[in-house]
């Protein structure tokens, strides 16, 4: 008779999140994040003209994570990406970014450059770098599209996030001892118009040829991958899974936090409404409303940190694993090609040895067509010897190439690991800091509430003895 007020069995969400109670979150069901990111070029340049890398030790020290971080004294090139602008043509709309370079390096004619680049241009640069340095680890670009994702293509958030990612991309290259010396990088930073440069380089057909060889090589597979690369492969697999999981978990947290923040905000006006019908309680209720409102705003800020800092970094490392896998593949291909060539050589040798014992049938034929069997044999031997010599030369070159590639990869791998550690340590640290800040601000809000109530209510002393 008395408790019969509003019957409101509140089941707010259709899906009861039973799985959240400490159990495994079924992340694989989360289809919301179909993402296209496949711009991994599969080039296997046979021309090979990069300088030898310096020792791993010197590579390790060049850290630079964000704008705010410390800059080591050795840095002689500074690149920034900013000022996104929208361009509308008859065919399309696109965004360009300003790329500003300040450098004291002698290879650069001037000490300052300012150019505008669009996403396509960055893609080109990445492709060229990978072509020239197949086993170096190039930092990933932000994705081309985000399907069903959290942002639209031209929304401010999207552009801002992409801009930051592009900035990071260029800076990682600038910090890399080998990549920063790349001619393509220089062109990217300095050329007014990239169009002409894009058209140069290996022709279409030769690129097709490269791709075919590469596919063939990958199909053939590697005989014996060296231990250390197996280890790296395994690690990359596992790491990829973990990053993907963390990415999804973080997205889920952001979603829940946003909804929490919204609901929190809804409480404030109700307390205000309540305060309007009360006398004694008017002041504390109004105060309550304002406290809730402030907490609501702090909560919104906290989410920003997650979505602008933590999430993009985690996502970058998801993309990194694709890069790593591609690098390992390319290394494998180089080895596979070498192995194939070695096989060919062995085949030729067998052929040559077989030639020593004449084959009755071929001799018979030769004499039929009036050729001197000895001469023919000699000719064939010469030919084979010549071929074998050629192949042997090629093998030597490929051997060198493989050794170089392996070393480059090993060194860059160490470098990458250090950088990854530093990046993730830093971003998780900052997230934890921001969370502490959030709670501290809310704490202050509620403590001020208590304080004001205490001073009003002289006999409230016993309440605060906790």
């Amino acid at each position: 008779m008395m408790s019969g007020t509003v019957t409101d069995n509140n089941t707010p969400t259709a899906t009861k999140p039973e799985d959240l109670a400490g159990q495994v979150l079924d992340l694989d069901e989360d289809d919301d994040l179909e993402v296209f990111s496949k711009d991994a070029t599969f080039m296997d340049g046979s021309s090979f003209n990069s300088p030898m890398p310096t020792s791993p030790g010197s590579m390790v020290n060049q850290y630079k994570f964000e704008e705010e971080e410390e800059v080591p004294d050795t840095k002689d090139i500074f690149v920034t990406v900013d000022k996104p602008e929208s361009h509308v043509t008859a065919i399309e709309t696109f965004i360009t970014y300003r790329v500003l370079t300040k450098t004291s390096r002698s290879e650069f004619d001037s000490s300052e450059y300012e150019v505008r680049r669009r996403y396509q241009d960055f893609l080109w640069l990445k492709g060229k770098l990978e072509e020239t340095h197949p086993t170096l680890i190039v930092h990933p670009l932000p994705e081309k599209f985000v399907m069903k994702g959290m942002m639209e293509r031209f929304s401010d958030d999207f552009v801002e996030t992409r801009k930051r990612a592009l900035h990071k991309f260029l800076n990682r290259i600038a910090d890399h001892p080998v990549l920063s010396c790349s001619e393509d990088f220089k062109i990217f930073l300095t050329a007014e118009e990239l169009g002409t440069h894009k058209k140069q380089g290996p022709g279409f057909l030769s690129r097709i040829g490269d791709t075919v060889r590469a596919v063939a090589a990958s199909v053939r597979g590697v005989r014996t991958r060296p231990e250390e690369f197996i280890a790296i492969q395994d690690y990359v697999e596992a790491f990829s899974q973990k990053m993907t999981s963390l990415d999804k978990v973080t997205q889920r947290i952001i979603k829940e936090q946003k909804e929490y923040s919204e609901e929190l905000g809804e409480g404030s006006p109700v307390y205000t409404k309540w305060s309007d019908i009360e006398d004694e309680l008017m002041v504390p209720l109004k105060l309550m409303a304002s406290c809730l409102d402030r907490c609501h705003r702090e909560s919104e800020e906290q989410v920003l940190q997650l979505s602008n800092s933590l999430l993009p970094t985690l996502h970058e490392y998801v993309l990194c694993t694709d890069t790593l896998k591609a690098v390992l593949r390319r290394r494998d291909n180089i080895q596979a090609e070498l192995e194939a060539k070695t096989e060919t050589l062995a085949g030729k040798k067998t052929e040559a040895e077989a030639e020593v014992e004449s084959k009755v049938l071929s001799l018979a034929w030769d004499s039929l067509v009036g050729k001197d069997p000895d001469e023919v044999r000699q000719q064939r031997q010469q030919k084979l010897k010549g071929e074998m010599k050629e192949i042997k030369e090629e093998i030597d070159k490929m051997d060198d190439r493989l050794e170089w590639a392996n070393n480059a990869l090993k060194a860059d791998w160490n470098r990458w690991q250090e950088r990854m550690r530093a990046d993730l340590r830093s971003v998780f640290n900052r997230t934890a800091e921001k969370n502490v800040e959030y709670y501290e601000k809310c704490l202050a809000v509620w403590e001020s509430f208590l304080l004001s109530q205490k001073t009003e209510d002289s006999e409230g002393d016993n309440i605060l003895d906790s």
Partner: protein, 435 residues
Amino acid sequence: MMADTGSEDVAVIGNTDQTPSELQNNIKNTMVEKGGTLLKGLEISVAEAEKRTGKNAVSIQETYTVYLIETRAVDNVSEVANPTPDSLWRRYSEFEIFRNYLLVTYPFVVVPPLPEKRAEFVWHKLSADNMDPDFVERRRVGLENFLLRVASHPVLSNDKIFYSFLTQEQGWKEVVFETGFQAKADSRLKALNATFRVKNPDKRFAEMKHYGDELQSVISQLLRVRARVADRLYGVYKVHGNYGRVFSEWSAIEKEMGDGLQSAGHHMDAYAASIDDILEEEEHYADQLKEYLFYTEALRAVCRKHELCQFELEMAAQDLISKKQQREELATGTVRTFSLKGMTSKLFGQETPEQRETKLKTLETQIEEGEEMVKERTAECDEFVKNAWEDIERFREQKDRDLKEALISYAIMQISMCKKGIQVWNNAKECFSKM
């Protein structure tokens, strides 16, 4: 005869270890102190709840819960409670009967509400099932609260049926039904009718009724929002548990980062687990709001009773006036009001003087009775207004006090939650920096 120790009388509240916050204790203690006429020297508690099965009135097997009411006489001199309590079991429906009795017997009192019959304003974790142990526990606390409210009420605490309810195991139901309270209850229809047709209710009661409506609306909204907020907050914390799991797995493939990740993962697990306690305490705040939500119904009941009283007074007064008018007409022979009798007498002939004489006599008696009735009803009405307004004032003060303390306890809870959050994330931060 016990010495009157006045306001220093403090009845000890049972089951303090059950109340989640020190503040709820304070509310109870205040109840006791300000209540004044507490059942002196009696300690009351609802100590336990138990499931029973049995055959009900129509011989159908049912499962229900019973609650153990314990009472202990407090020795006023030494203020030590008798170690062995008297106790008896009651079920929720008996509490309902008792409360209905109070409503009928003391219509001028804002009668304390019972805890809700069914779980409302739930967020997903709480079961809406009446048999759910959490629900039963909160109901137990609510029932105890109800008894203490009654025991600290200046009027209600003296009721004999109340004492019976607390102490008489057998035959209580017969006793309460014997009071005939069920017959005395005003019909809903009568009350509704009065509400519509009353002409001059006391303005203060009209305002109170309106306030009751608005308070009900606002608290309902608040409870809905709170339930949604609780649900979301639960989500946020629990998803962090997944960080714990992934960090732990990840640490297995790392060398230098392994330890840092592993311990950070543990902190994430702790963070995720901490929400359960936090929300349980918050549930307490919701219960306090709910009590006042249900109180608004009692408040409205008092206002309605006033309207009924006033209406009946107005009816009696109206009746008196019309009778007096009839007398006048009869005496002077003028027909001022249209009446069927008058018309028919005109049509079919006048009455004889003897008939008129009898009529007049009857009217006189009726008028006398009517005047008595008006006097009575006026007195009743005034008495009601006086008592009711006194209780409403008392209720208002109680509400202001209780709700203010509820807000403060909410702030304290938030502070505790923030402090825990700061600790966890500082710990996590340390682990991260070791990565």
